[in-house]
Amino acid sequence: MQLTNRKKEVSFKEQSFAERIYLPAILKGMVITASHLFKKSPTINYPDVKRPIAPVYRGQHVLKRDDAGAERCTSCGMCAVACPAEAITMTSGERKKGEEHLYREEKYAATYEINMLRCIFCGLCEEACPKEAIFLTDRLVDVEFERNDFVYGKDKLVEKMNERIDVTKRQTSAVLEFKKTLGLKHNELFEAQKLNQGKHH
């Protein structure tokens, strides 16, 4: 049975003179390598030039602040429960008087850590979050020398006031619509929050 048409007879005959001085074969090889001089290099000059990424790319997380600058996270722990890699840990704190401009609600995350070595960037934390507090962004996680440095605390996760991060790309209408689906626990809270806001004004 013939499997391929690339069968080649191997013989042990004496090499001819042309084969023995190698030159014809060498010239053939050199033409092949020279042809590569004129081919375009597929290399991307990484730090200078970045590969285009998808609009819904899931990179390093951000903990959002609201428009007034208060942290949105209430340390409910939904993200930690949803996380399949168990990368998220947090401890809660109670808001003191005079800290209203820092934290949006009475309970807040005193510490909030994501282990970037465990994280699989699936985005389930973002889906689970009832407060629109955690989002995955298009930033890449930095390279570090120590394993401990990959455990990102609030210092790295909470967005800076002077460099706000745009997450509207992640808040597609489909996502917003999903978050409004009735019957999901967090959406009840979402609705209640909207009612509360209505009362304030």
Binding site: R20, T33, T43
Partner: protein, 351 residues
């Protein structure tokens, strides 16, 4: 007398710096060229587009820890790379770089020294060069280094013979002078020697590859079999000297090939060009243009060396010896016989 000493000192310093600069940038160009042949970009970080890469490499080499094995013979261990570097550099002294310049009625040769046995001097220095490798490999007191050194010396001996015979044929056909200056001037009018000695050039080129330990003849440093070959035990700038001297060797052997076979600083229609530009004999500009022509030829040869290196795999040891003794030696003898016969019938040689 003072003027003579100053002129010679400038020539020596200039040629020395030229060799070092050319070799330094040959290392960069080697990496760039390899990258182009492999659809990559090559070093591009140090300086503008990688132009300072040789400086970075040099600084790295000097900063590295230097290890001299305590089982090695310390003085010979240091002598090895020094000798290799010295022999690499002093071959440049007989190469005529450009046409003589006339300044103030005085003629200055653009050559460190025009000895009348220039070709023999080149062969002699090239064979001293192998002592650098041999001494380095032997004094390391390491099996791999010794194997590398043994390979280097047997390879050099094997390939010097066809090289020498190819040179004899060249000298017969170019008029019998051993001075490189006269060989170049013989190619000033008429054709370059490559036209009369194509087979001789091919043999000389293959032997030059072997003498400079370039791929596919880099068996002495063969990293897949011998760790690093003769420089296994070397570190820091001593290793740097070995690697650097290889590039100087490549540069000088390219210069020698350009001089012997491709007319050196002459190029086709040179006299017509000089006449058109209105340049008199001995003008500085003629020298500059001639030097440019020589450097272009050298660059071409250096590229050819690299092109071959990044195309061919290394020879097996028995293939190397078969090629040297069973193919190149008979071919070079054949070339010699044909040359002598042709010159006899042209009436240039009398029995």
């Amino acid at each position: 007398m003072t003027a003579f000493i100053i002129y010679k000192a400038i020539m020596c310093g200039g040629v020395f710096l030229l060799c070092l600069a050319a070799a330094a940038y040959a290392t960069l160009w080697e990496r760039k060229f390899a990258a182009f042949l492999q659809d990559r970009k090559g070093p591009s970080r140090a300086g503008w587009g990688g132009i300072l890469q040789p400086v970075a490499d040099g600084v790295k080499m000097f900063m590295k820890e230097e290890i001299i094995p305590n089982v090695s013979n310390r003085s010979l261990f240091i002598l090895g790379p020094s000798l290799f570097m010295i022999t690499a550099v002093i071959t440049s002294s007989v190469v005529p770089w450009a046409k003589p310049v006339m300044i103030g009625g005085q003629v200055y040769d653009m050559q460190i020294t025009d000895i009348n046995i220039g070709v023999i001097y080149l062969l002699g220095v090239a064979s001293i060069g192998v002592y650098g490798i041999m001494i380095g490999g032997w004094s390391s007191n390491n099996k791999f280094a010794l194997l590398g050194a043994v390979r280097a010396s047997s390879q050099m001996i094997s390939y010097e013979i066809p090289m020498g015979i190819a040179l004899i044929a060249l000298i017969i056909s170019s008029g019998g002078s051993l001075s490189l200056k006269e060989i170049v001037e013989g190619q000033d009018a008429g054709f370059a020697n490559i036209v009369w000695q194509p087979l001789g050039f091919l043999i000389f080129f293959i032997c030059a590859l072997a003498e400079t330990n370039r791929a596919p003849f880099d068996l002495p440093e063969c990293e897949t079999e011998l760790v690093g070959g003769y420089h296994t035990e070397y570190s820091s700038m001593k290793l740097g000297l070995y690697l650097f001297a290889e590039y100087i060797n490549m540069f000088i052997s390219s210069a020698v090939m350009a001089t012997l076979y491709f007319g050196g600083y002459n190029f086709p229609f040179a006299h017509e060009l000089y006449e058109k530009l209105g340049l008199a004999d001995g003008s500085v500009w003629i020298s500059v243009i001639g030097f440019g022509a020589l450097m272009t030829k050298i660059f071409g040869f250096v590229c050819l060396f690299m092109w071959i290196r990044w195309t061919l795999p290394r020879f097996r040891y028995d293939q190397l010896m078969n090629l040297g003794w069973k193919s190149l030696l008979p071919l070079s003898l054949l070339n010699l016989v044909i040359t002598v016969a042709v010159e006899y019938f042209r009436g240039n040689i009398k029995l």
